[in-house]
Symmetry: C2
Subunit: 214 residues, 2 copies
């Protein structure tokens, strides 16, 4: 089962197909393909080429792989409802913003924003690799700072599960229902304005779709 | 001239080809193709399908088109060094974060981060449409709030120029040099850690590239 976005307008494949599952595959043979095909390298290469203000590149990541200590540490930082499923992910990652510019003093007002751009690139590259990512705000930044020795001036923002997804039927009932629920978003007309804030535009009225759902 | 990223590992086309030019095309016939081909609609559709914490979708945009009042207003908010070239962009956009969750009270700690993810999607969809985006931190959020009637609880984060790019030789000398300079990033080994913050991994040593530069 895939949950392709039911889009109002045609968009690129990776964006249409990206979603955040909770059921991750633990098959060791599949794990090996991630390593042998350099999927991890390519995902971080995608992160690398995001734009950022002053080209400051205010993104840092700490990654652990299933069964290693870092994976276990990141599991410990998660809230309980995430712990239950995220333990199966091939990799767990903490995404960290550098709060200052290169002088290590001047605050970088777009550090979080640029970290988000970098992770968005990662998530689309992961989709292109037939992997899935699930970002979580539900983790303890304080625990991550302590356990992973993250220094002053850096802010852990999300924890990320990464791997091949698996069947929704491996999940307990409550999570299975979420896993099978269709993805929803406000239409673009509701968040894109002209002239001033709040002023909608007919430009974004839903068109008659000229492509077939795949 | 295109400035494809000189990548250490193979990545998807849209990420490789995305960059932020300053020379934008002002040909009216080309403008028409943007409208007739629904490129604007698709770019905001890409923004729409970004992930966000609690699916809060904390992104708002105000768009102006060359020669309309909103475009002129957004130009006024830019710092001088951006004004000089951004005036030619087909569209100027203010990207705005909603600071609170749906209850309009609880602060949303990932608002900026999720706005960044949404804009990253836009920039890749724009690349797929053969358009370019150039995000600017160099603008006055205060002016934007006043002139575009952005209410309390919302933060303008970047101004964005969008359009077809044009030759670097249309730019004055100083900007032309920047336009022709190769894109640079720290290698992923420098920002991806294992075990703890700062600990590098051989996993991300540059491989021998197995593809031809296109």
């Amino acid at each position: 089962m895939d949950k392709f976005a039911k889009t109002d307008f045609y968009i690129m494949d990776a964006i249409k197909k990206r979603w955040s599952p909770r059921s991750f595959n633990t098959d060791k043979a599949k794990d090996e393909t991630i390593k042998s095909e350099e999927k991890i390298q390519r995902i971080f290469e995608a992160a690398r080429w995001a734009p950022s203000a002053y080209n400051a590149q205010p993104w840092r990541f700490i990654i652990g792989f299933r069964n290693d200590d870092t994976h276990k540490i990141i599991q410990r930082t998660l809230v309980d409802k995430n712990k239950s499923w995220a333990k199966d992910a091939f990799a767990l990652i903490i995404a960290i913003a550098k709060n200052t510019l290169d002088d290590n003093v001047t605050p970088n007002p777009t550090a979080l924003y640029d970290l988000g751009q970098s992770v968005a690139n990662m998530s689309l590259q992961a989709t292109a690799e037939k992997l899935h990512m699930h970002q979580m705000a539900g983790f303890s930044a304080e625990e991550a700072i302590k356990l992973l020795e993250i220094p002053d001036g850096y802010t852990p923002v999300t924890a990320i599960a990464l791997g091949y997804r698996d069947s929704a039927f491996r999940l307990p009932h409550n999570l299975r229902t979420i896993e099978l629920t269709e993805r929803e978003r406000h239409p673009s007309r509701d968040f894109v304005f002209v002239k001033k804030f709040g002023e909608k535009t007919d430009l974004l009225k839903k068109a008659i779709l000229y492509y077939m759902e795949d």
